[in-house]
Symmetry: D2
Subunit: 416 residues, 4 copies
Amino acid sequence: MTMFDASPRVRDLQQRLTAFMQEHIYPNEAEFQAQVNAGNRWEHVELIEQLKPLAQQQGLWNLFLPPRTDTEGQFGAGLTNLEYATLCEIMGRVWWAPEVFNCNAPDTGNMEVLARYGTKEQQEQWLKPLLAGEIRSSFTMTEPEVASSDATNIQAQIVRDGNEYVVNGHKWWTSGAGDPRCKVTVFMGKNDPSAPKHLQQSMILIPMDAPGVKIERMLTVFGYDDAPHGHAEVTFRDVRVPLSAMLLGEGRGFEIAQGRLGPGRIHHCMRLIGQAERALELMIERSESRVAFGKKLSEQGTVREMIAKSRIEIDQARLLTLHAAHMMDTVGNKAARGQIAAIKVVAPNVALAVIDRAIQVFGGAGVSQDTPLANMYAQARTLRLADGPDAVHLETVAKEEYRSHAPKQAKETVHV
Amino acid sequence: MTMFDASPRVRDLQQRLTAFMQEHIYPNEAEFQAQVNAGNRWEHVELIEQLKPLAQQQGLWNLFLPPRTDTEGQFGAGLTNLEYATLCEIMGRVWWAPEVFNCNAPDTGNMEVLARYGTKEQQEQWLKPLLAGEIRSSFTMTEPEVASSDATNIQAQIVRDGNEYVVNGHKWWTSGAGDPRCKVTVFMGKNDPSAPKHLQQSMILIPMDAPGVKIERMLTVFGYDDAPHGHAEVTFRDVRVPLSAMLLGEGRGFEIAQGRLGPGRIHHCMRLIGQAERALELMIERSESRVAFGKKLSEQGTVREMIAKSRIEIDQARLLTLHAAHMMDTVGNKAARGQIAAIKVVAPNVALAVIDRAIQVFGGAGVSQDTPLANMYAQARTLRLADGPDAVHLETVAKEEYRSHAPKQAKETVHV
Amino acid sequence: MTMFDASPRVRDLQQRLTAFMQEHIYPNEAEFQAQVNAGNRWEHVELIEQLKPLAQQQGLWNLFLPPRTDTEGQFGAGLTNLEYATLCEIMGRVWWAPEVFNCNAPDTGNMEVLARYGTKEQQEQWLKPLLAGEIRSSFTMTEPEVASSDATNIQAQIVRDGNEYVVNGHKWWTSGAGDPRCKVTVFMGKNDPSAPKHLQQSMILIPMDAPGVKIERMLTVFGYDDAPHGHAEVTFRDVRVPLSAMLLGEGRGFEIAQGRLGPGRIHHCMRLIGQAERALELMIERSESRVAFGKKLSEQGTVREMIAKSRIEIDQARLLTLHAAHMMDTVGNKAARGQIAAIKVVAPNVALAVIDRAIQVFGGAGVSQDTPLANMYAQARTLRLADGPDAVHLETVAKEEYRSHAPKQAKETVHV
Amino acid sequence: MTMFDASPRVRDLQQRLTAFMQEHIYPNEAEFQAQVNAGNRWEHVELIEQLKPLAQQQGLWNLFLPPRTDTEGQFGAGLTNLEYATLCEIMGRVWWAPEVFNCNAPDTGNMEVLARYGTKEQQEQWLKPLLAGEIRSSFTMTEPEVASSDATNIQAQIVRDGNEYVVNGHKWWTSGAGDPRCKVTVFMGKNDPSAPKHLQQSMILIPMDAPGVKIERMLTVFGYDDAPHGHAEVTFRDVRVPLSAMLLGEGRGFEIAQGRLGPGRIHHCMRLIGQAERALELMIERSESRVAFGKKLSEQGTVREMIAKSRIEIDQARLLTLHAAHMMDTVGNKAARGQIAAIKVVAPNVALAVIDRAIQVFGGAGVSQDTPLANMYAQARTLRLADGPDAVHLETVAKEEYRSHAPKQAKETVHV
């Protein structure tokens, strides 16, 4: 009976990734922000472009594609979800680092969709440049007018007209659309309102420069614009795309969403754990360097309790996430949906709790631009909403739990 | 035995203030932000200046000064802390509204200091224009290099040199210093490092345009700059002020801080309760207008539980704050220090909990610029740090509790 | 504007009650338990009978009946709910103390029902001996077969047969039925299943020695039997009572329950606050007397935080309860239903939190018979269920909140 | 990279243990309590004695001893801590079941001590009959007069006098001492007050029938006496044992405690997880069978949220415990002390949270003798105190965390 025995290859990747972070990422955090602030905010950051070739040379590139996504073994690194999860955490410690390794959201999810469900032609046009890091992509699903947590509410229309689809819709929280290199979006909309509820929606590929696509404005998250990545409100008015832009087939949007969101959620969770781990480190350092009421903060019982609780919560969140990844690898994304839902609740909430404690230990510096904490908090907070709010995932967990107790004989088994 | 029987005068003020908010403030929330964004951010907002005379005409001006602060009865409205608290909550529902009534922090605290401890000359020079709303002020205490939660750590120096004091220090979180009308700061620093710990610090009045005063930069709070008010990092290099700028006397800084912070904290807490009440209202409205999984959000048990908990927490926080105000009115700020510390912990945490639930009900809109919620959250979060972090106030409550149990005979009394 | 100004009469009662507790109750806690354990458990405790005349002589008797319950001013002390609440807390500090003052549940609730809704004859037969402390009573509503939190589920039958009602039912959690002096029960059951839902139930008076009434067994609460008071499972088989035993009229059970439960809940809550206050005191004492890892517990930051949080939570719970009492006094039990529901959630949960912390500070002694803490915990825990579980009260609060926001003009008012 | 791949042998044991529980334990829960209540409470329960041979015959006996404890491979089943943990959870689902498999506390811990540190003679005299289930044992460490959470406070004396040790001490929470078959206790006391703090204490074997050993009384836990096992207060007055009764050597008590407590804590935690899992099952069943306000409880959003949270918390607690077991197996009990401390905080708190929710769903039945829930709660509550209170374990976690961050190079590694 074993647990977490990383293979030599994975251990090696962990070590080299950690070294890369120490050498190229942490020392450049201020520089990244300076470059963003210096430009017009909505253009690519030179620093990232300089680091990408380094990561590529070191084989720290496109590590995310799991083996079975990639039937021909040609695209990704061939790591399991469990293996990649431990690497994703390391990259996630700095919010802009994953892009350096071509492993950032929403591109990874989009690449996974294209690798898994794309036609040769779609892969040629969009997957190849994405894998090469030459372009970026976005995902357009959420709509301002409806509670998008219930995806059946999505109102955008994809109507066939001869050899084309005509797309109309009002979307927002299109993350990544602020970057001028964002060339394509995976768009979800209804193509058949008369079909059964879960067969009404399709996903389709739309070039961001297609006529009728308009970025209305950039949204802020708390006070951050997250430039140059950004979160856009986008309108689609009579946008025309060829029939070949359809993914998998009409009415199969939910099927793709199901396949796409599992890994995407795991990745988000592992990055959040990386963020929490980082916040804990910062809190520890700060507590060693400040004195109040005659004692270092690190000698005060309540601070030590905050440290201990953070360590425990992070370890539990990580184990739950790795276990979910393992379930995806062994029983499949669908059978693991309860586990995926569970970590999607746990990881952001743990990250928020730990970051919040770190802010408290830092005092005013914690909410300011002088530490990454407030920005980390804002980003983690959105992940209690993005890809489904807590309430929706808790309902999934409850549903699975009732289901697992329905047959009497299943009752006394151990859960892992 | 009675409880909360507002006098006719206070009831009238409550009603008129509520009407003013409905007529002039809520409808102008977008306009306020538009004016800030349109300008260079760091200049006064025309809207505020237009509304101030209206508030003055209606007698909704300078309501904050409690009777005994104001020995000659000439400055304020003569309301007790308990009376003013209910009004402060109403103004606090929109973060920029208190300035319209000349009741915003840190000006109220500074005016209270000047009214209570200022010389005739100091009152003439600074209090009068502040009461008239012609200038603004700031408070410079927190320092980046030390844990300022322990105020004995403050390192800034106030050294007498002939007929002048020479001031040197590095301060930050100087709120309000972004506004060009901010003309004076109440500065805390050490004038005698050899004195007993609580007699080392003094407070002194420094014109913001004095040579040697330099605003180094504006700080952000979760990405917000809170323009035009703002939070500055300020350096003071060999700043010279006349001896008459000293408040109350050398070494009496803690004494003033004690007197200043009590009312200031009550005001912050009541504004936070106003914010929480507002967030609850917004959450209720939203929950009535959105449908997910076949039911309005307002019909879903978990949302209703969030509403109920918010109502209960807000009511408890308000009662605790009003009770603290009542204690200040009846036994004095010093004897009420346990109660003041208690609400300083409760109010921000309750506001954060309620706002956080509201954000969750709003989804993406909740973290964006389309609702006031994210900004409210950011501001409330700073109040778990500003004027003392939670941990410091909890320690005060613990100390008072142990003290109250020390004499055996006090043991069985009812606490209120 | 005033808050909590106890009248001289109430202050006097507070002081004399506190003195009585110190002289006669606290020193006898061990003796009480010894007398229970020495006998057959289910007989009256001599100590209580000895103290009752003392309480009567000192005018500390039947303090609970509010003025308007008692139309002729002949039964109770004429105190308002707000006035009595502060006294109820003092008595509640020891769980068996209220009976000494004839102020214990469920007798107070039953006496209130009889005083308010009873006929002269019913008052003569049952209210008089209850007020004299000569007999005890019980309340039979909850049923094991249905979710009694929804009182419309109650299945017991009250069927008219000529000049009598025939009663059949299976009840449990009939508190107080263990005491041999328990002579009468207020019984709730359906007399008209065809009536509208809230008019099906009636309340009727049944002598505990009527043929067909059978105590099946005594229930335990955690491991306690709460002798000699106790909680019984009782069956009623073809029990016959005269028509004159009906309270108020057929189908008016809910109306009575509404009137009965408000004050009963306030009393429970105040006793719980007394319990919490007691637990806090014990925790403080213990923390001063124990040393671990080189420091007194009272010098350890985490213990001090527990003390501070307990103080804050208790004060908030007390204020909320007093406010609810004040609402009952001024706007009536029905209009105050949201406030009553709120404290019914808050008070037990706060008591449990404080007692739990005290147990933790006491270590093993805390869960054993050597402190009252474990018993206090068990009793407080039942009050998250008895008189309605938390969920039902939270729903009431939510309903009131949505109602209060329904008319637009009510929106901006301050809540207290 | 793998996770939790149980070997065929362990899978087989899991299945057979589950079957045994379904066939022999669950159907006998009422019978067990009836037999305890029928006798004098403090004698062995016939049911247990009847089931023990069955368990032995099926090879479900003494499964707990890990391989390296048992150098000669002769005593236990040779399962790793990780392997046994999954079995321990199954047995732990009913509190008295582990004894049926000879796997109950404190016997397992004592047997582990004897197997690991005992002399041949000690093993012959005590370990053999313990392994055979012929006798029972207890552990005497905690003392009523001192804060025993700090084990250096232990005051009992073990003084050498010629060929004997003379033992004096006042102990309590000696669990298992109520059982007449309890023949030996592992006693901790000071033999050299002048030695360095962690070398003052020894552990020694004392026959329970030695002159001078007196059970003063049995303690209750929330009203339960936990008969026939029980928790005793025991005095030791001039108890004489031969020198050969010393375990490992004078002054090595802490060394043994360290070795003993790790596995003991893991076992407690796994049993707690079994209890939590059981409570969740009961809650699910109940929620399906009750209707309130027109809907089954299982259809109410707040109940479903309770179910989901319980599932998530249990899964996290189990993974953390299994991970700690795996660390013990791979890096040793000492290096795993942070992980052991973490689960010792998590498991009881999770169990309490889940059981508490189950009680709430059951209503009155939940606190009564009609479900196992209240008893489960009481037992789980003691485990926030027994084997060290939460605060002590949190401090251990904090200490390890600061230690792990001390060397700079360790900073960026992934934690599992």
